[in-house]
């Protein structure tokens, strides 16, 4: 939706870039570097959680419940069972990052493949696939995901299934749109004239010219999937409450919001940081694409 810039936006950013040669490198790579840095720091911190904190995210400490932030030994405080919040955020991040990469990666590949086939071959296949895509778009995405999770039974794995079943459609639509344009370019016609197989033409000649658009959208989608995973955890339809998943932590903390604000606040900030990382990465890719040619 907001991912792909309208032609007018492209034009304007190009004009803007022309008018400001100064600081061009920063403009060009700034978002990309910032986004990549944020994400790598978060990923490393979550993977290296045992090195950063000696607390176990699930160990109860009945003597120190609801300790505030900056209490000695507990930088972000503890929850109602005395569990260290920083440790829970670091370990829980593994779940949320898995959702971001697992959900996005699968639909990225599947949706792009479907869109390539649809756009390349056209005809009946294209019509059928695009009608299916239109149908899925008629549902509010979040509602459809919840409905599928409801039928399959709430669990993290079924949440993945629900996302896989529904979010390939955006990739298919984007890829299909660009493929129909690219497939009439001379180099593609030349490749066909040389007698290359369809698969080779699609993968070697069309895909490289389409993939950047898909990747930009994938960054927006990753933000969406982090939010979605956390939202389902919050509603108890994904990760379940004892799990340190960020959405589940926020949900749990809402019960103590009157006295202990930090329970819900910090996991939410973690989500924002990851989301901003992906957004910046997406903006950076888009900037590269706009001024790149």
């Amino acid at each position: 939706m907001s991912s792909l810039a309208s032609p007018s936006e492209l034009l304007f950013d190009r004009l803007q870039a022309r008018s400001r040669r100064r600081g061009r490198h920063l403009r060009r790579y700034g978002s990309l570097i910032a986004g990549a840095t944020i994400l790598s720091v978060v990923i490393v911190a979550c993977l290296a959680a045992p090195l950063l904190t000696h607390y176990n995210p699930d160990t109860l400490d009945p003597l120190h419940p609801l300790a505030g932030p900056f209490t000695p030994g507990h930088l972000l405080g503890t929850d109602e069972y005395g569990r260290d919040i920083l440790a829970r955020i670091l370990y829980g991040g593994r779940i949320d990052l898995l959702i971001a990469f697992g959900a996005t990666g699968v639909t990225l590949v599947a949706g792009t493949a479907i869109g390539l086939v649809s756009g390349y071959f056209g005809g009946l296949i294209d019509t059928i696939i695009m009608r299916i895509v239109d149908l899925f778009f008629a549902f509010p995405f979040f509602v459809l995901v919840i409905a599928i999770v409801a039928m399959l039974g709430p669990s993290i794995f079924n949440m993945f299934v629900a996302i896989w079943l529904t979010s390939w459609i955006s990739y298919a639509r984007i890829t299909r749109g660009h493929t129909t344009v690219v497939k009439n370019r001379e180099y593609v016609l030349a490749a066909k004239a040389l007698g290359y197989r369809h698969l080779r033409v699609m993968l070697r000649h069309i895909l490289p010219n389409v993939v950047s658009f898909v990747l930009i959208y994938a960054m927006v989608d990753a933000v969406g999937n982090v939010l979605l995973g956390a939202a389902l955890g919050f509603l108890g339809l994904g990760a379940k409450v004892p799990s340190p998943e960020w959405g589940a932590m926020i949900s749990d903390g809402q019960n103590y919001i009157l006295s202990s604000w930090w329970l819900s606040t910090f996991p939410g900030l973690a989500i924002v940081i990851v989301g901003v990382g992906f957004s910046l990465l997406g903006d950076g890719l888009a900037d590269l694409l706009r001024t790149g040619d």
Partner: protein
């Protein structure tokens, strides 16, 4: 005349989509793993009860017949029997409709009030402090989970500074306005992050048009150019962006209703997941989809009436 044809064609286009929605909604129930009767009955499972449940869900018929039955029932406004409330699912859903519609409408109004001025001023002051700030805020806002923002707003404006109620729907129109302000604001802020960017771009694009140069050469004042030429064109894209993203706005109500304990369709949907009330889940999903189709239809018609070129195409 051509406009009438456009309206007719657009309405006709919605019919196959509605039809497809019923197919997807129908197949939802087939996703239940194993025996749905066993899932629903749990420990109350007996062979006789299972047979009854299968019959109630129409699962004892061939697939095409099940779908026809589903469709016939739908045309009669029958969404099946709620397994949890033991009353028609339609009744259950109707009771929850008003708060959700109120919330969606309220959020849309607030979103317009926030995003239109922000988007326009950002474009007018491009690259200046306001624009840069708006860019950072929309970037962060886009990555912010709505339910968390809702909790933070409760913390700030209902607990620390008790301006608004913590939760609920309130009584009477004014009561609704008061109770739904924070939830509507939460949704509106998330929605605005999308609209502001698009509006900014379309105002800038409108300024680049030839007719703006012509107006300038004619010596028309800056304010008149902004109001008469730029905004009039930019507002069309606002309508379109609003329409396209309303599905997002409606999806957002599902979770926000749960944060603020509002007795609407969203909280009904989530409750029905845990009570395994499959007919209600089906019904709510269907209703949300129909709502989106209706909104898209209205958006296209408004778009066409604002911009005659659309209908002429």
């Amino acid at each position: 005349m051509s406009r009438l044809v456009f309206v007719g064609r657009r309405v006709l286009q919605a019919i196959p989509v509605l039809f497809g929605i019923t197919v997807i909604t129908f197949f939802l129930i087939r996703l239940i793993p194993g025996d749905p009767a066993l899932q629903i009955l749990g420990q109350h499972y007996t062979a006789a009860a299972a047979k009854q449940v299968r019959h109630a869900l129409g699962l004892d018929r061939p697939l095409w017949s099940q779908y026809l039955l589903f469709l016939t029932h739908l045309l009669h406004g029958n969404l099946g029997e709620s397994l949890f409330f033991k009353q028609p699912a339609r009744q259950v859903i109707e009771q929850r409709l008003a708060p959700t519609l109120f919330l969606v409408g309220y959020a849309a109004v607030l979103a317009a009030a926030i995003s239109i001025p922000t988007g326009v001023v950002s474009a007018l002051r491009r690259g200046r402090l306001f624009d840069q700030t708006a860019r950072v805020v929309t970037l962060v806002g886009f990555a912010m989970p709505g339910f968390w923002l809702g909790i933070m707003l409760i913390l700030l404006f209902a607990i620390k500074v008790p301006l608004f109620p913590v939760s609920g729907y309130g009584a009477g129109f004014v009561g609704h306005l008061d109770h739904l302000f924070l939830p509507a604001l939460t949704i509106a802020l998330g929605f605005s992050t999308i609209v502001v960017r698009t509006l900014r771009a379309s105002v800038l694009a409108a300024y680049a048009a030839d007719y703006v140069d012509t107006a300038r050469i004619k010596g028309i004042s800056r304010v008149a150019i902004l109001l008469r030429h730029v905004l009039r064109n930019a507002i069309v894209s606002v309508v379109v962006v609003f329409g396209i993203n309303l599905a997002f706005l409606i999806g957002g109500t599902v979770i926000i209703e749960n944060v603020f304990a509002i007795p609407g369709l969203g909280s009904l949907l989530v409750d029905s997941v845990s009570t395994r009330d499959y007919p209600v889940v089906q019904g709510v999903t269907l209703l949300f989809a129909v709502l989106v189709v209706a909104i898209n239809l209205v958006t296209d018609l408004v778009h066409a009436s604002l911009d005659p070129r659309v209908a002429a195409r």
